[in-house]
Symmetry: C2
Subunit: 218 residues, 2 copies
């Protein structure tokens, strides 16, 4: 059967980037459909009626929602010879823990830097850097989070690198604060799957500038 793979996505989405990277890691041909989030498509509303959010993977008509669940689904469905998640249950649990950490801690901390100004912004910046340093501690001296091979935790965190450049909006330097994490990010970017999936930093900078204005005026 011919596989039909559609990704409902939005180019600056960190979560969309995860799905794109995993699809490319697995060599899956897909049709990326850009959503207008101010006027969501009927397909998006039908395929993700609960959260109404991108990314949504539609594989032969069936939806898979939530970025980490999409990455796991892709890992289980394609390319068993190049797994993203380790097979050992304890190593899997560890990878799940650190990907979950990105969602529970790193992302909310980043978002807080967009929402806040003044003293609250200073606190938010500190918290964000703290979360990145905790991630860097888990990386340690390894090439990738899982060891020698690019894997699940790398997919979950690398989209944030596309926003490191945006740090200049908040006047802090991740390059200085987290040198090992930056070296890891550059290593990941040498992969075609990552390089093709992360947006242009200048374009993203302009987008986040607008987003901050919008969020802070609410």
């Amino acid at each position: 059967m011919a596989e039909e793979v559609i990704l409902l996505d939005f180019w600056p989405s960190l979560f969309g980037m995860r799905a794109r990277i995993a699809l490319r890691e697995k060599g899956v041909e897909f049709d990326m459909r850009e959503e207008d989030l101010s006027n969501k498509s009927l397909l998006l509303l039908k395929m993700n009626p609960v959260h109404k959010k991108i990314p949504v993977l539609i594989h032969n008509g069936k939806p898979v929602c939530e970025s980490l669940i999409i990455v796991q689904y892709l890992d289980e469905t394609w390319g068993p010879e190049s797994p993203l998640l380790p097979s050992d249950p304890h190593e899997r649990a560890r990878a799940n823990f650190w990907a979950d950490y990105v969602d529970k801690k790193v992302y909310p901390a980043l978002r807080a830097t967009w929402l806040s100004t003044g003293e609250a912004l200073e606190a938010a910046k500190k918290e964000y850097i703290k979360c990145l340093k905790v991630s860097e501690g888990e990386l340690g001296d390894k090439a990738y989070f899982g060891g020698e091979r690019f894997g699940y935790v790398d997919v979950s965190l690398i989209p944030f690198y596309s926003l490191f450049y945006v740090e200049k909006l908040a006047d802090f330097s991740i390059v200085e604060e987290c040198p090992k994490l930056v070296a890891w990010a550059k290593r990941c970017l040498q992969r075609e799957s990552v390089a093709k999936s992360l947006p242009d930093q200048d374009k993203l900078y302009d987008f986040v500038l607008e987003l901050k204005k919008k969020l802070q005026s609410q």
Copy 2:
């Protein structure tokens, strides 16, 4: 090798209950160690240095943290003849989605009912009931979320039933609002794994009453 399985837990924890249920579903003998969360044990701080939260499963000295990750780990490590998660990747993704929904929507909505008073409480109650109704919609007329067998989504949501009784604190009736969900919960409670893992409702009622006072005075 003799298996050493320790669960660092706290009796009223919805997340701890998940781990207990899954351990009992899998027939794993375990040593449940009650934590004093105002004076956490050195073992807890060592085994979960990132979040410093229960539950933590310690299997032969190695920690697994975060309740859903613990349930997955248990499912992969014990009793392949009675899996909690389905083997089909799309069905797995669906189960992961609904367990994730409990964490992302149901729990925050419940917590909001504890934190709020007056009009905010009315809004919080509505949101909580809405989330339960969405879950009930996914259950439909099935015996369990996954169909005929008790599984992963059931483990993730059933602890909340122990708090349905607490609804009288907020003056709303889940029995009236979600009759199918209540019938499902009673079905789950017929399982020894569930009945043994959920605390006494009167004891939990007193605990939540104190918790609400504490949260609202902060």
